[in-house]
């Protein structure tokens, strides 16, 4: 490799977007939406990601998940078109659409905005099944702990959206700082000889400066990641204990994909989260990808169905 090529490779390395996670979409080929079922949609415009879930008569038809842009309306439209890709369906075919997440009031096609608390409870119940009682949702900018009954109705909840610590955005910033792709962060945080102590602060800004000084002291990147993951886990555990832990436990949101955090939470509370698999055997058999990020939008779509039926009944 010439010096020039090396320099270029290094620049490319620098330009890598380490925080970027995988966007996804899926369509159910076995459903004919033209058959006349109720088409309901849920759009979850979050601070970091946007999801759109489309259901036909309460059955998952399609979903799309992507990164939020700066505008809520634009994000909602992009989310919708991602889910609609290749289906031949348009937004006009939807009978009812519910918006949720931070940008819920900005979803132009939504007939109603529902808070993410209600939607996540309903969505997680649908994904994990009625045996789930406690749900931890770690989103881009907040984390929520919900206790639900067997129908997914909220019994008790607490939410922390005061700062990015203990949330996905904090992890993104941190991964970018230590130079580890976010998709590998969980794995890397376990590649340590000894579990380090948690970084003392979980404020992203201060955690960054603490990481800088730890790296200067000679810590390797994996240990720093482990220390940050542990701090994030401890932060969330405080909130979980406030609401109370009742088995079974489910985890949703982007951080559910990071075993560096989720397994440390399990260790802290001494309980296990349920496996990230579909409660509905049909979906499991079809190998529908179990994307923990769609829980909010799925809940919104289920509410949309209920509201559409309510509207019809009137």
């Amino acid at each position: 490799m010439t010096a020039h090529e090396t320099a270029r490779a290094e620049t490319q390395q620098e330009n890598r977007e380490l925080w970027r996670w995988e966007e996804s979409r899926w369509t159910n080929p076995d459903i004919d939406w033209k058959a006349g079922g109720i088409i309901s949609a849920g759009i979850d415009v979050g601070s970091v990601s946007t999801q759109c879930v489309i259901m036909v008569d309460g059955e998952l038809y399609a979903y799309g998940s992507l990164r939020s842009g700066s505008g809520g309306e634009d994000s909602a439209l992009r989310g919708a078109s991602r889910a609609l890709e290749g289906t031949g369906m348009t937004v006009d075919d939807w009978h009812y659409c519910v918006g949720t997440g931070y940008g819920r009031v900005l979803v132009p096609m939504a007939k109603k905005a529902v808070t993410e608390i209600a939607c996540h409870g309903r969505g997680a119940n649908w994904m994990y099944g009625p045996s789930i009682r406690t749900i931890l949702d770690m989103g881009g900018q907040d984390c929520k702990v919900l206790r639900v009954d067997e129908r997914g109705k909220i019994v008790n909840f607490a939410m922390n959206d005061k700062c990015a610590a203990g949330a996905g955005r904090g992890m993104e910033v941190f991964c970018d700082f230590v130079g580890v792709p976010i998709t590998e962060a969980g794995e890397r945080s376990f590649q340590v000889d000894e579990e380090p102590r948690a970084v003392s602060t979980t404020c992203v800004i201060f955690a960054k400066s603490e990481a800088a000084s730890l790296l200067r002291e000679g810590w390797d990147v994996n240990s720093v990641l482990a220390a940050y993951s542990l701090a994030t886990a401890q932060r969330v555990v405080e909130l979980m204990q406030r609401v109370g832990l009742e088995p079974e436990l489910g985890i949703t949101g982007g951080i559910a994909k990071n075993r560096g955090v989720s397994e440390r939470i399990e260790k802290e509370i001494g309980m296990k989260f349920n496996a990230r698999t579909w409660h509905n055997p049909e979906y499991a058999e079809k190998e529908v990808p179990f994307d923990t990020q769609i829980a909010g939008a799925a809940g919104a779509a289920l509410f949309a169905k209920a509201l559409a039926e309510k509207q019809k009944g009137k």
Binding site: A118, I154, F157, N160, R242
Partner: protein, 113 residues
Amino acid sequence: MLANWGYQDGSGGYFIVIDTDVCDGCGKCVEACPEAVLEVGEDPADPLRDDPVAFVTEEQRKKLKFTCSPCKTYLTAGGKEANAGSTGVAKASDRKNLPCVASCEKEAITHSW
């Protein structure tokens, strides 16, 4: 449902807890609160509920420690003098004297700090 409105930061947890199964949306707490922390309307956490319910306004959810501090300091137990120099954290036994908590006949409101 127990709705925990508030937040948690490095200094502690600050939540107003409303038992929505008990709350009938009468609105007396809204009148009692000197800082307009509470409002009554459609349940933000349950879109299928028909009856109105009390909840903490979106604006106040992230600053309850500060907004509620005057009540905690002066209106609990022994009044202003007894609580001079208070930290804005009320003893659990005194929280029943907070205007919002005292106004609720159904005892649906509790403070976590």
